[in-house]
Point group: C2
DNA sequence: CATCACGATATCTTCGAGGTATGATGCGTG
DNA sequence: CACGCATCATACCTCGAAGATATCGTGATG
């Protein structure tokens, strides 16, 4: 038995007329009669009572019709769903991001993605760079946002944002008096950094930056991500943070641009041989809408 | 797209190997590859990632597989259900019966039928002969049990039980002294009958029987079915009832066989051009198990 | 009784499902 | 590194069957 038999049978059952059903199906009447006969022969019982006009379904035909419709519908729905999956509009993806990104750009990306692919379940996980790379390699994570360069051969990445580095100072620090600072101005200050293993690439990038400025930073405290800012605010030391931290808008922190700052790169990372169209679509969306630190707040302002 | 494509796709998806899937399907590997390719081309996206061993499903393939299984299952279930309908093991039938039959035979028939066709919903309706014939003609009733001959051209019937007629007497009636009675012995007694329109054939049969005995009965009360017995018990008059009434076993009634009684025929009736296999099966069951007045009680006795 | 409507049958053509032989490719092993 | 093996794709052929056209059988209708 083939779907053709069911389609033809359903057409005849609905039209209750072989001629009209054949016309609707775009074939001649004799082949239609034959196909239905073949189906009946295969099943071993009649589906139509042809002895009177208009023809009517037998009890078996009535029963089969319901199931045939269900089967045809399942096929149609299956094709539709599969197409959505192929287009990356259906499925589930797991996205890693540095917690700092939550405040500046991530929600915009998620919103844009959700608009294009409402049936994709997104699992977001705030993770330091190291954890993201680990997750990507283990296949638990599908895409991530990582700062600094990347050296994993099985991962692919793309710069999605370049931002200048800022100096984070406690409000009562003497240097807050100056609007413009260079890195060497803080060469003797105590530093607060995140632990190296949380993001070795970005960590090494920052330390290398200090080396170029002629000193190696005195790290007095280590804290993860956002906590760095709290330690700076509490006066433990200064720190170097990406420009986007401004979005957090804490008034217990003073941020000053670093004049001699190189740009820090935020990279979108995924597995080299990614097979998930949903992930591909996510990457496409990020490329399209970009990662704009301010977008979020402007929109909110417009809406209110 | 045909079921073949889905079956082949599902086989490959389950085996994750074209060769094994082809063996399972009983075809060679190249045609299988081609069919799956055709399906992919028609859909416009890939279902398998063939680039590594063993091959794996794409996201779209994974999605389609679920629906394909559902569709194939719906077809299988549909064929099975339709076959049951064709065999008369599925559906609904409406059975009419004279209320007297409830005590002697009907439950046995229903039990036997239920055993053969547990998925047929039976609607039983106690109805006088007239009502049954009306229902059969209107298509509301599918089979019935009627006493006496039948003259509707569009109905077919079959005798399922022949029984002698009995004289029903109140216990204090003088004739109860005699064991053996003929109809003419009660030619002057008052009679209790059911109204003629409740079963004209049986009514006329009874009256004709009296005529043959040389009198016409003095009907003093009319009552439907079982109520006749109550009126007899109350002493309103005598009545003529089928042998099977003995099954009711009322001790306020005395039954005496009529020596000159012709047999009364219980007929199974259905529509001439019945199309329902469930009805055909019901008729078959009645033919098979018969309508035995005593069967019911014997069985009950055996079980306890 | 002639006609019409409608499904079945007969016969032919063409397309494609499935067969065999072989090629392309990736992987493990001596 | 070469070789063999496993595995899927391609090439080509055959035959069955889906569908077209013409026609028949039959029940309903004026």
């Amino acid at each position: 038995m083939e779907l053709r038999h069911l389609r033809y049978f359903a057409a005849v059952a609905e039209e209750r007329h072989f001629g009209r059903a054949a016309a609707r199906l775009g074939i001649a009447q004799p082949p239609l009669s034959k196909q239905v006969q073949d189906l009946e022969r295969e099943l071993g019982f009649e589906l139509f009572d042809r002895s009177r006009r208009p023809i009517e379904l037998t009890a078996a035909g009535e029963t089969l019709l319901e199931h045939a419709r269900a089967a045809l519908h399942a096929v149609e729905a299956g094709v539709h769903e599969a197409r959505r999956a192929a287009e990356g509009r259906r499925g589930r993806i797991s996205v890693g991001y540095p917690s700092s990104l939550a405040y500046c750009g991530l929600t915009d990306i998620l919103r844009a993605f959700r608009k294009q692919a409402p049936d994709v379940t997104i699992r977001t996980q705030p993770l330091p760079s190291g954890g993201q790379i680990e997750g990507l390699l283990r296949g638990e994570l599908h895409v991530g946002f990582v700062r600094g360069p990347l050296h994993e051969p099985s991962l692919v990445s793309e710069v999605v944002r370049r931002e200048r580095l800022m100096l984070a100072l406690p409000p009562d620090h003497p240097l807050t008096a100056r609007k413009r600072l260079a890195l060497r101005d803080v060469s003797r200050e105590p530093f607060v950094f995140f632990p190296r293993d949380r993001g070795p690439a970005f960590f090494d990038f920052l330390v290398g930056f200090c080396r170029n400025a002629g000193f190696s930073p005195k790290v007095v405290q280590e804290a993860s991500q956002v906590d760095v800012l709290s330690l700076v605010a509490a006066g433990f030391g200064v720190s170097i943070v990406p420009d986007s931290v401004r979005e957090i808008r804490r008034d217990d922190i003073v941020l000053r641009p670093l004049l001699d700052s190189p740009v820090s790169e935020l990279r979108l990372v995924w597995h080299r041989d990614n097979r998930s169209p949903a992930v591909a679509r996510f990457i496409e969306v990020v490329r399209c809408v970009g990662v704009h630190p301010r977008r979020n707040r402007r929109r909110r302002a417009k809406r209110t």
